[in-house]
Amino acid sequence: MPVTFHIPGALREFTGGRSRVEIEHSPATLAEALSALWTLYPGVRDRITTEQGQVREHINIFIGDENMRYTGGLASPVSAGCEISIVPAVSGGCENSSVARQV
């Protein structure tokens, strides 16, 4: 059973417009699933993780209904057929705090 990524609108530019991407083989962990996603759509990688490979601060990844931050991070197990959602932690309209801090 493939796992399925749900791709947010902001990243569909890098997935050929796809909102769902299926990973054919069965990854054991979230890291493996993401790695397969990068292989298919390399542009998504830098948007989701930093250059040091960490998931960006304001990006949440849910495996099913569970936030990966509470299930073992990138080492979180993924089961066959599961759905993985990538969503910004705070959506729309929120002032970025770093600017507010500038002055």
Partner: protein, 701 residues
């Protein structure tokens, strides 16, 4: 061949012949459908490994299930002949349809979107077409585009395509090149490998041909065609071709791959936007400048001409481009670009005759440096951020605070000051960036403290006279200088107070908000600190307090007059705790004697309940005479003065918080000027008086 079986297909009739082989109509007797079978010429001289590669590539292409890509059903070999069974498409080639006068723009856009969509799918799967041309594109009777021969060109090499493919006597190694000459990108002619951007060049040629009926780069011989591709600019396409479509074609046909669209999906989006903008049917009698094009939804673009004056605005919700002329009285507003992203840094790069706008964007999805060569109509959106910390640092890029151009004689050099505090440098016009290790590995770095805005290297100042000397300012690390081109760095903070440390005058650690240099006198620098205004007349060896008669020596913005090294502008704010204009009166302060005294400039600025803040890069000066000064505020107002600050006008209001303001005059082949490296001016004859003795009223700290 007629009547013969190839796999489970019976050959019915010959329907065409090309350089690659013969194409037959056939009938699949298992699946009961009509198919086309291409039998590769025996004289293609494929050795077994080339044959295997052809098979492999054709199999990859067969995975490209896309409505605009001719589906490959099967690839096989019989009696040493390779054959490809594919979807049978009945229609006309785009080449035949475009002949003579070209197609109506509506059709070009409709077909162009489909071709770009097909390329986008292939590129996503790592397949480059390598031989995109109008002859390889078929339009069916119901208007559906089908792109043929995906991925095949790579394997069959030179020599088996159409005659034109073979005619490059000027190439040193034609055997390694495939494609059709008039559609070939300059980098292929230079001997570089084809990549997806070479396909985007070919797409530009296809769109040009479809719109006009002629090729953009012509010639009687292969040499002439190659020469035109390498050096010439195609003749402009006027009405009925809408300017938006022409702009897209031009960007595809940019000689340097890095300056083209970087993805087929970008071209597709741009074509769709022109389609949806409803400007396609603009009558030929329309304004010769053409209607303003909209390449992104709800984004207004400015139509820039030679001699125009631009203001570039970075805000917390995107970027704007304002266009005016030398009169600087009426403004056309373009944007917002990068909806919702922080744009902390912008720069205009006119070096070497280019017209490039740089912008840094920051959002949840990371920080990117992007550029536009068409005044914002399209921007690069690199798949991978080229500014990235090496893995051994363990550090990740948070934001780009400053984009500084290299010296005019080094047009490919740029610097970026970033958060966490570090300096990046490019020597190839932004294609690749490297961390300046001499600064990053400085033993002080672990002891730099984040300022209120984070630990940022926000200012980069180059000495125009000494190519080995430059300065950076770090909040809160202080000023550092290199005198050996970046290899080693020394702290240059002698005389600068640190209000947040027990030691009043430490070697480093001061929260410096801005430093500026006058290019005519590179030994002179001015500095706005977290509590403190200073001048140095000896390359930052030491600093003298010049806060003489300002309401507060706390502030962010600082600017030198482009011609007078004694003249500096600042916009003080009340205090560390209350970072707003003093007493609610928005006032710019100017010294014309190197800081010995300061005068308020406020005519036309709000003087009641104007609790405004002007951030460190939100002020800029043009080089007209008299000089124009422009600044934006955190509340989203933009003010300008055409008389060196004597009187002010509000240019815009209601913007998001303004973080960065830059300016440029659009000239042909000349250097655009910005605040990071103004043109050198004649050295002044007058020395300023030292202003360190007089008393400054400073707020309680």
């Amino acid at each position: 061949m007629i009547g013969q079986m190839l796999g489970h297909c019976r050959v019915v009739a010959k329907i065409g012949e090309g350089g690659m082989g013969v194409v037959y109509r056939a009938y699949d007797e298992v699946l009961h459908r009509d198919v086309a079978v291409k039998v590769v010429n025996k004289d293609a001289r494929l050795d077994s490994s080339a044959g295997q590669r052809l098979l492999h590539e054709a199999r990859s292409s067969s995975a490209l299930a896309h409505p605009n890509i001719c589906t490959i059903h099967e690839v096989g070999e019989t009696d040493g002949e390779f054959y490809i069974v594919m979807e049978l498409i009945e229609g006309k080639s785009l080449h035949a349809m475009s002949a003579d006068t070209g197609l109506p723009p509506e059709s070009v856009l409709r077909y162009g979107v489909q071709i770009a969509s097909a390329l986008a799918r292939a590129h996503d799967r790592g397949i480059v077409h390598r031989d995109l041309k109008t002859a390889n594109i078929v339009v069916t009777s119901d208007g559906l585009v089908k792109v043929l021969d995906f991925g095949l060109a790579k394997q069959v090499g030179g020599g088996i395509f159409e005659a034109t493919t073979r005619s490059f006597a000027s190439l040193q190694d034609a055997s390694s090149v495939s494609g059709t000459l008039p559609y070939m990108a300059p980098e292929i002619l230079r001997g570089d490998a084809a990549d997806y951007r070479s396909d985007l060049w070919a797409l530009g040629v296809v769109l040009y041909e479809a719109a006009s009926g002629r090729l953009p780069f012509g010639g009687r011989t292969g040499f002439e065609i190659s020469s035109a591709i390498m050096r010439e600019i195609p003749s402009p396409l006027g009405p009925p071709v809408p300017p938006g479509l022409w702009a897209i074609i031009q960007r595809c046909l940019t000689k340097e791959p890095i300056q083209r669209y970087q993805r087929a999906s970008e071209v597709q989006a741009a074509l769709e936007a022109v389609q949806s903008a409803g400007i396609v049917s603009a009558s030929p009698s329309a304004d010769p400048g053409g209607p303003r094009t909209t390449v992104l939804h709800s984004v207004q673009h400015v139509h820039v001409r030679k001699g125009d004056f631009l203001l570039l605005l970075g805000t917390t919700k995107g970027a704007f481009i304002l266009r005016s002329n030398a009169a600087r009285s009426r403004w056309e507003v373009g944007g917002p670009y990068f909806h919702g992203h922080n744009v902390y840094a912008m720069a205009y790069d006119g070096r070497g005759g280019q017209h490039r706008i740089w912008a840094s964007t920051q959002s949840y999805w990371g920080t990117l440096l992007r550029s536009s060569d068409d005044f914002g109509k399209s921007w690069t959106n690199p798949q991978q951020s080229p500014i990235r910390f090496p893995s051994d640092t363990g550090v990740s890029l948070k934001n780009i605070w400053q984009i500084a151009l290299g010296r005019p004689e080094e047009p490919n050099v740029l610097y970026c000051g970033v958060e966490p505090a570090a300096l990046f440098e490019t020597r190839d016009a932004g294609e690749s960036w490297s961390l300046v290790r001499g600064l990053f590995d400085h033993p002080h770095r672990p002891r730099w403290m984040p300022g209120n805005g984070g630990l940022a290297l926000h200012t980069v100042v180059l000495d125009p006279a000494d190519h080995r000397r430059m300065y950076v300012a770090i909040s809160a690390g202080g000023v550092y200088r290199t005198s050996d081109g970046g290899r080693t760095w020394t702290p240059q903070n002698q005389g600068i107070r640190a209000m947040t440390m027990p030691e009043r005058y430490p070697e480093f650690g001061q929260c410096v908000h801005k430093i500026v240099m006058h290019p005519a006198r590179p030994e002179r620098l001015y500095l706005q600190s977290h509590w403190g205004l200073y001048r140095s007349d000896n390359f930052a060896e030491n600093w003298t307090d010049i806060a003489n008669g300002v309401p507060s020596d706390f502030g962010f913005a600082m600017l030198t007059h482009p011609r007078n090294p004694d003249c500096v502008y600042i916009v003080p704010v009340e205090s560390d705790e209350f970072r707003c204009a003093c007493d609610g009166r928005l006032r710019v302060y100017r010294t014309r004697n190197g800081g010995a005294s300061w005068e308020p400039l406020f005519r036309g600025l709000p003087q009641k309940r104007a609790y405004e803040t002007v951030l460190r890069d939100a002020i800029t000066a043009d080089a007209f005479d008299p000089v124009g000064i422009y600044f934006g505020t955190r509340s989203g107002q933009l003010f300008g003065s055409r008389d060196e600050g004597r009187t002010w006008q509000k240019i815009l209001e209601g913007l998001p918080s303004v973080v960065c303001v830059r300016n440029a005059v659009v000239e042909d082949g000349s250097v655009g000027f910005g605040p990071t490296l103004p043109k050198p001016a004649p050295a002044p004859s007058r020395q300023p008086k030292s202003g360190s003795k007089s008393k400054t009223r400073r707020p309680k700290r």
